[in-house]
């Protein structure tokens, strides 16, 4: 058993760390987060063409590097640590994963190389819903003579206003839960598509709403085989789980940096003639934060190993939904706890615009809400334990 990074994985993480320290400084983050696009497109091209991050976990057969989810979460953790503003999560963890899970061989061959090459994507599935599962899909699809008609409203879509490719989940009329769901590729210039930027409290993560009004799509817009239409509910469940693990990675980064920056601040700040890091009341708070960050990391790395097997086929893959809910529940609370404590430990300056801890506090909350908060995921676990429902796919 080696539940630790290999040397190669450490190298990947260290590369991400030093790159992000350079390009995602506080000034750089603040420079892009106020814009509607929310990231630097030139930097995104560097991320794709120099670092190959979007290629990381994509199989070599589709032009990827063929690495695993562990490498992916190690990189995402650093992105959280550095408040990185980019379409990475929406393109790779939503878009590329959707294609990997639901696409035909031809679609994978066609779409994945584009995403690796710098084309951005996102997935729209939920309507104006508090839920985060298949039941939140409200938009409708129907078959037409030569393709599909889509209609509906989608909300809370990461980078949905700027993504080059939108993948939209819709259901057949009157279907419920995971039934009747399909995923469709909707190019940004599709007639009848309207998308609007939603200004958000956490400016480092952009959201959008999408209207599809009587939108007609060709046969090949459906992800998957035509005779399997309406049967992608299970794929969507897996996609949500894989993406939730990616968010958990960001949260671990937020939890860790909230701790590190607070400790660094306390080592400098002097009151009553001592650095405040020497006061036990504050040390104990920091110790609790470290416990949360480390436990969150354990949950994350386990979930990443599970995700790896879920994508490549392995026995642990059975645990995907449970591992994702465990990671998302714990990491959501940990990131929020640490960022909240971080403001308190910084004292008055923690509440100012100038210090970054407030940005982590906001990112912690937006990540918590994204794809189901802690209570949501605990209820998934509770129903598995207490209602006799079988988890896993």
């Amino acid at each position: 058993m080696e539940f630790s990074f290999t040397e190669e994985q450490q190298m990947i993480r260290d590369t991400a760390r030093s790159f992000l320290a350079e390009v995602s400084s506080s000034a750089a983050v603040r420079g892009v987060m106020g814009s509607e696009l929310g990231y630097d497109p030139d930097l995104w091209q560097r991320v794709c063409k120099e670092l190959y991050w979007p290629a990381m976990h994509i199989p070599e057969a589709y032009g990827g590097l063929g690495l695993g989810y562990v490498e992916l979460v190690a990189t995402l953790e650093e992105m959280g640590k550095h408040l990185f503003c980019s379409p990475f999560f929406s393109t790779v963890c939503l878009g590329a994963n959707a294609v990997l899970l639901a696409g035909t061989e031809t679609q994978k061959q066609q779409i994945l190389p584009q995403l690796i090459d710098g084309v951005t994507a996102s997935v729209a599935y939920t309507g104006a819903s508090r839920r985060s599962d298949c039941a939140s899909v409200e938009g409708i699809w129907e078959r037409t003579a030569d393709g599909y008609r889509l209609d509906g409203y989608w909300r809370y879509i990461p980078n949905g206003h700027s993504a080059d490719v939108l993948i939209v989940a819709a259901r057949t009329p009157f279907s419920t839960g995971p039934d009747g769901i399909s995923l469709f590729v909707v190019p940004s210039d599709t007639p009848g598509l309207e998308r609007n930027y939603l200004p958000t409290m956490d400016e480092t993560r952009k959201q959008a709403e999408v209207y599809l009004r009587d939108v007609f799509l060709p046969e090949d817009a459906l992800l998957g085989e035509a005779d399997q239409a309406g049967q992608s509910g299970e794929c969507l469940e897996k996609l949500i789980a894989l993406a939730a693990i990616a968010v958990a990675a960001d949260q671990v980064g937020v939890a860790q940096e909230s701790l590190d920056s607070s400790v660094a601040y306390m080592q400098e700040r002097v009151q009553f003639g001592r650095v405040i890091a020497s006061y036990q009341a504050l040390k104990h708070k920091a110790a609790d934060m470290m416990l949360k960050a480390e436990a969150a990391r354990s949950a994350l790395y386990y979930a990443a190993c599970v995700a790896d097997e879920a994508l490549r086929g392995g026995p642990l893959g059975e645990e995907l939904l449970e591992a994702a809910s465990i990671a998302k529940a714990y990491c959501s609370d940990a990131a929020f706890f640490n960022a909240g404590c971080g403001i308190q430990l910084h004292g008055g300056v923690g509440f100012t615009e100038e210090y970054d801890i407030q940005l982590f506090f906001k990112r912690a909350k937006s990540a918590e809400t994204l794809l189901g908060n802690a209570a949501w995921h605990r209820e998934i676990i509770a129903s598995q334990l207490l209602d006799g429902e079988v988890m896993g796919l």
């Binding site: 058993m1 306390m266 104990h284 470290m290 436990a295 386990y302 714990y330 209820e379 334990l385 207490l386």
Partner: protein
Amino acid sequence: MKLSFSAQDETFREEVATWMGENLTGEFAQMRYRGGPGDEHVFVEERKAWERKLHGGGWTCIGWPEAYGGRGATIEQQVIFNEEYARAGGPGRMGHIGETLTGPTLIAYGTDEQRERYLPGILRGEDFWCQGYSEPSAGSDLANVKTRAIKDKDSGQWKISGQKVWTSLAHESEYCFVIARTDSESVGNKGLGFFLVTLDQPGVDIRPIQQMTGTSEFNEVFFDEAVCADSDLVGAPGDGWKVAMGLLGFERGVSTLGQQMLFQNELDEIVRLAKVNGASQDPALRQRIADAHIGLRIMRYNSMRMLSGGGDDGSLQKEAMIYKLYWSSWHRNLGKLAMDVMGPESEVLDAAPYELSRLQAMYLFTRADTIYGGTNQIQRNIIAERALGMPREPRG
């Protein structure tokens, strides 16, 4: 990252499971899941007999080198043994202090004579040990021990006087390792000695402490010129702190997965109860039960990380420092959850005068979890100072 054990280790796992299945039967079957923390007062003689049974199967001291009668088992194998032992419901080990603390200490710091004299009894499940560390004025501040050891000029023997406290199972033990001050002028962690003391002698008085559970597992131990041969001093006079601290590093977390198996067993019982009595329909309790499940799974992942990266020097990594604080806090919450799931029935005892059910005993005993072995507050100091590099507490 690789989460599975090797095929060889899995064969070992089967071997342990098979042996447990075949041997934890008959007279021993009644002890299944008994005798663990909070329950150590039960089946004492039977559990001592069980130690000898274990020895017969070659299952005591498996982590010791073969030269001393062990199996030289790897960390992974020790983890697996503990896990399968607990999975089978193996009773709380009477011999664990001798096996995990005395033995490794003597192997690392002892003389050949000490090893020859004491290791075989531990190995065979015949000699039981207790730990003489804490004192009334040396709790969290362990270095503040007042117990004195004075060398008698005529006999060359040491005479030990003082009081130890919270000495688990002293009343069932043959020997106690004691840290005592060899230099009466010294303070703090200087001038201490590490002594192997025979308990059956006139200078030793053992008095059980009654706990809030109504039972007694630990004791006060009074030494009044208790005799200890010079050959039973481990290391030199003044080396006591080094030996005592070295000993605390030996356990290496190999029993953590076994401990978690017991926790899982308790959680399973709570889940079963919740389904039966309707607590499973209470939204607030559902959240807490799920939280307990999540916490226990993560505890397992924590130990897997801890066990994967341990340095050869036995030094603990940063993440290992959170382990005690994590499990003790989790278990204390589980105790409260158990009572809340039981509802009004949580007040009603199994029998008069004070016979607690398993979950009731667990609930009360978990209040000790966050105190013994370094309180949660001491653990937080350790984490803040050693892992986060924050300034040390000023010492008086």
